[in-house]
Amino acid sequence: MTDEIWRCAKCDKPLEKRKTVFNYLGRSFTHEVDVCPKCGAVLIPSELAEGKMAEVEEQLEDK
């Protein structure tokens, strides 16, 4: 699924990899994710949300 090209429906633009700032429990960090180049909407696939992101969330909760 992640190999497919996603388009932002509103802007009709294909998403591009962009470094994006994430924030959780007062800490910020950046990660490269699919973003609409026009409106900046971010797409988080389930593998990322339930994989790496969940891991980092748990680490930050423990700190």
Partner: protein, 748 residues
């Protein structure tokens, strides 16, 4: 502890909650020992063959190991809990074994500078020598005055004095203790220039009439026997050191044992009898006797609780960490106890089994309360249940004394989940109660989700609401169907009189008025699974049994009552693997079906596939309904309100409506179950798709699959879906994350 106390929490407030813990405290034998020998440590070393280390442990406590092991009357044996389980541990022979095998009895020499303080010791009997040795080892300038020509006092007439004399000589040989024999001290005038004086002149000499600063008394002079005289010598050395350094007088601290080791499952093992001539142990015998020792210590809470076992922390450590965690200031000083604090079922099991009544749940709840008060709690861990509480106290709430009535003598408080599981449990129980009682209805929430989350503000707001509603009904007695509600009320609303629904049914015989209920045949032989909140509430536990067995169910008992099903504390999101472990363990405690009297237990076991009925299924003759999903539970709660408002209160209520209610989802069973397990409601999926389609804010692939998100305060939900026709969507996946995205990295 109220909210102001939470904001001003001190270390001692937290440590006091675990201070009585006896883990690591002296076992009964150590408590009986005048020297406070660390018996567990000593015996473990003997068992492992570390005889030299065992010798040091012993010598450090008893000062003169040859003398003490020869003459000690072993009061430890009388205290040993093995006494009735094969015979007391033969500690004295183990001590003699270790002393006999000690190749190097010289004390380690450390480079300690000579201290200037001068100590006089009057009397070179066992008491005086013990104090003299301990102070000399600390490098004080010690002078011993003895009126006789040599040391030993009353020991001089003992047949083995030669051995003791040799031990004294070996002990003092490397030290610079001054001995003045044939020196009778007739008054303090002989003892000028000393910073402290220890009078150990034996029982024949009367003690000085007046206490004096810097003068310490011990041994036979104060009535001590030989062993206590030697033990006092070591204690007084510590007291004198404190006195000459600070001028303070400190009480000696003696090892005490004020707890009883549990020996329920300990098999008898006979005492090892020494086979050698003279009665000493061989090496094998010593190891076997040491292995027989139970090394009494208390870790019952850790053994009985999956959470404590997983983190392997004892109450005092947890208390200390909970306090230091309140000082955390991330990212400079990290929190250290988050996962433990949010993994506790708060079930009271540790407290119910603890000889000192320590409640680890209370300590960890304190941690969560301080986190919420400091606005540093991870919100996602309890968000779902707090929203469910909002639902129960707002759209699903309803209070009435009945048609045409303002007040009632009783009010039925079913709790938030009973009707959610099966509306008939509330509506038909209310009918049953109305036949015998002047009863009203209160659909709401006791506040357990806020209590568990540590959210004091939300909890207090709900309690205020309950007080107001109760007042408006004329202060009726509350009838509880849920033991968690009963527990929360008893703790936080003690002014409200409450009664368990099941006690009422048992007393009044209201249950099954026809004599037997038509309960499902599968439950003819069952066990009662008591909810954790029933811990300590034997009246309700017994009433449940009386009602169920009165209906003709044959009941067996689980090995233990009141262990949490896993739901308590709402730990499912904070520690999913621990939640799975606990729920699996509870479901496996018996092959027989469970009858529960907590709707949350019912939900947990239904999800586990364990055959399980709620007691009201048995009483009302209902087939246990399959566990509804999240939306089903909410629908059921609203249905309870609609039916009761209409039939009981004579008012018409409409459930709240949302514009996305009309969205039709096609979702296969596996995807639906996965979403439900993540606590994502289908109404949340509907909302996300509805808003995304309305505002055209979604992503789309060439195959028509779309993806949308919906940010909520604690979570961001995502739905992967495909439009099927107008307002109908196939749901492919639903998930969430807790992080928020702030936008593009400007440095990119």
């Amino acid at each position: 502890m109220n909210r102001d106390d939470i904001n001003r929490l001190q270390a001692e407030d937290v440590s006091a909650l675990a201070a009585a813990c006896v883990n690591g405290a002296a076992p009964p034998c150590g408590g009986a020992c005048p020297f406070g020998v660390e018996v567990r440590s000593f015996i473990q070393k003997v068992e492992k063959g570390r005889d030299a280390a065992a010798f040091k442990t012993y010598r450090d406590a008893v000062v003169f190991p040859i003398l003490v092991s020869a003459l000690c009357p072993a009061p430890c044996e009388g205290a040993c809990v093995r006494a009735a389980l094969g015979g007391s541990i033969d500690l004295l022979n183990l001590e003699r074994f270790v002393v006999g095998r000690a190749k190097n009895t010289r004390r380690d020499s450390y480079v300690i500078p000579q201290k200037e303080k001068r100590i006089a010791i009057v009397g070179a009997g066992a008491a005086g020598l013990s104090a003299a040795l301990c102070l000399s080892l600390k490098r004080y300038r010690v002078t011993v005055f003895e009126r006789e020509a040599d040391w030993g006092g009353e020991l001089r007439t003992h047949a083995d004095f030669g051995d003791f004399d040799a031990e004294f000589r070996a002990s003092f040989e490397p030290l610079d203790t001054e001995f003045h024999f044939n020196s009778e001290i007739s008054g303090y005038g002989n003892l000028t220039g000393f910073d402290a004086i220890y009078l150990a002149t034996g029982r024949a000499v009367p003690a000085p009439a007046e206490p004096r600063d810097g003068v310490f008394l011990g041994g036979g002079l104060v009535g001590a026997d030989l062993m206590n005289s030697i033990a006092q010598g070591r204690q007084v050395a510590t007291q004198i050191e404190a006195y000459v350094q600070t001028g303070a007088f400190t009480e000696p601290v003696a090892a005490q044992c004020d707890w009883t080791p549990e020996t329920d499952d300990v098999p008898d093992v006979p005492r090892v009898i020494p086979s050698q001539d003279g009665g000493g142990f061989t090496v094998e015998e010593a190891r076997a006797e040491a292995a027989r020792c139970l090394k009494c210590d208390c870790d019952k809470c850790v053994r009985g609780c999956e959470m404590l076992a997983r983190f392997h922390k004892l109450p005092q450590k947890i208390a200390s960490e909970v306090y230091s965690d309140t000082r955390a200031n991330p990212p400079f000083a990290a929190h250290t106890i988050t996962r433990e604090a949010y993994s506790c079922n708060d079930c009271g099991y540790c407290k119910s089994g603890c000889q000192k009544g320590i409640d680890v749940g209370e300590i960890l709840r304190l941690s969560r309360r301080t986190r919420v008060a400091a606005d540093s709690a991870p919100p996602a861990l309890h968000d779902y249940w707090l929203r469910e509480m909002d639902f129960s106290t707002e759209p699903a709430a309803f209070v009435s004394a009945g048609i045409g009535k303002n007040t009632c003598e009783y009010v039925f408080f079913p709790g938030c989940q009973l009707g959610a599981y099966n509306p008939a449990h509330v509506t038909r129980t209310l009918e049953l109660l109305r036949g015998s009682y002047d009863v009203g209805i209160y659909l709401g929430c006791c506040g357990a989700p806020a209590y568990w989350a540590g959210d004091d503000a939300r909890l207090e707001a709900n309690l205020a609401q309950i007080r107001d509603n109760r007042r408006s009904l004329g202060a009726p007695k509350f009838i509880f169907a849920c033991t968690t509600c009963a527990k929360i009320f008893a703790e936080l609303l003690p002014e409200i009189e409450g009664v368990s629904l099941y006690s009422l049914l048992a007393e009044s015989g209201v249950a099954a008025p026809s004599g037997t209920a038509d309960f499902p045949a599968a439950f003819a032989h069952s066990v009662i699974f008591d909810p954790c909140a029933s811990n300590g509430d034997e009246e309700t536990q017994n009433a449940v049994r009386a009602v169920v067995s009165g209906l003709g169910v044959e009941l067996d008992e689980l090995p233990e009552r009141g262990k949490c099903c896993g739901y308590g504390g709402n730990i499912q999101l904070a520690n999913p693997s621990l939640y799975d472990e606990i729920t699996a363990n509870r479901a496996a405690e018996s092959d027989l079906p469970y009858i529960v009297y907590c709707a949350n237990c019912r939900q947990v076991f239904a999800e586990r596939g364990k055959e399980c009925a709620h007691i009201l299924d048995i009483i009302l003759g209902l087939d246990p309904a399959p566990s509804p999903d999240i939306d089903g539970r909410r629908r059921n709660s609203l249905e309870v309100k609609r039916v009761i408002a209409d039939s009981f209160a004579g008012v018409s209520v409409s459930p709240p409506e949302n514009p996305w209610d009309s969205v039709v989802l096609k979702i296969d069973a596996e995807t639906a179950e996965r979403a439900d397990r993540k606590l994502i409601a289908q109404s949340e999926i509907r909302e996300a798709i509805f808003l995304a389609e309305r505002d055209r804010v979604y992503f789309e692939r060439s195959d028509g699959v779309r993806q949308c998100s919906q940010a909520k305060p604690a979570l961001v939900y995502w739905v992967t879906y495909k439009p099927l026709r107008e307002n109908e969507y196939k749901v492919i996946d639903a998930y969430y994350h807790r992080m928020k995205f702030e936008g593009a990295d400007d440095n990119d």
